[in-house]
Subunit: 154 residues, 2 copies
């Protein structure tokens, strides 16, 4: 369990940091074009959620999972898992448009102009994806500790 | 519990149907511009997940929650909740770009051209949001049935 928590801490922390440091600029037709994570509300949301998740994961390291707060932590874990899931999904959707564009809506892909930004975002999304998976495993593990998932009887 | 399940069924079903029937077209500079949910992979994902969730919710109505499958259903509920959460988040991110555009990336808002499509999508997103909330409540309720969440002792 400690391993999973540390893994989650690493993943959320790196997702936050990689996203915050992602920046690139391009010169298109004499117009300077700067790509930053703050340009998109979705990326800001991603940074916020991953920062909260890493803070939470860090604090929770000091609470043994067998403590009397066990049930409360399970619910908090569930909320964090849902938030991480939501932030990574939203960013993947935006990232997909950024990479491929959407010809129907007339949205052009931007990765050709700001490749460094896109690579950073990609790295951040991978870390965020790992974080979401790890939190899913944490949830399954906590549930398994409380109710044995492999038996059929309640 | 049955009320929550029926509510979830209604919400996922209407989210699917409203999204599938959303369609609008606009004439811009002699170019016909057709807005459909299939134009965006994110909206297709949303329809797929909500269709799966409504099918699952329908089937699960026939399994009493106190049955010996209780634990298994809890894990399935968790997966469905995460999938719904992910699909609604992704669509909200895309919908936000569709409504407001993103000037940094040069993506123009499209709701002015296809208002009927946007209204449909908005209705669908509200239904999807309700579905995600209801599934969160179902999870909390199931957890509470198995372990009393209001006591501190495991």
């Amino acid at each position: 369990m400690l391993v999973l928590r540390l893994l989650a801490l690493g993943a959320t922390l790196s997702a936050t940091l990689i996203m915050v440091t992602s920046q690139d600029s391009a010169q298109v037709f004499n117009m300077k074009f700067e790509a930053k994570y703050t340009n998109s509300p979705t990326f800001k949301y991603f940074v916020l959620i991953n920062a909260i998740a890493s803070g939470y994961t860090f604090i929770i390291l000091f609470f043994p999972s067998k403590s009397s707060y066990g049930h409360f932590i399970l619910v908090l874990d569930l909320i964090i898992a849902l938030l991480l899931d939501s932030s990574i999904s939203a960013c993947l959707a935006i990232g997909q448009v950024g990479k491929n564009g959407n010809s129907h809506a007339g949205w052009l892909p931007i990765c050709g102009q700001v490749p460094k930004f896109c690579d950073h975002v990609k790295g951040s999304l991978i870390a965020g994806f790992v974080a979401a998976i790890v939190y899913f495993l944490i949830l399954l593990y906590s549930l398994h500790n409380i109710i044995n998932l492999f038996t059929l009887k309640t």
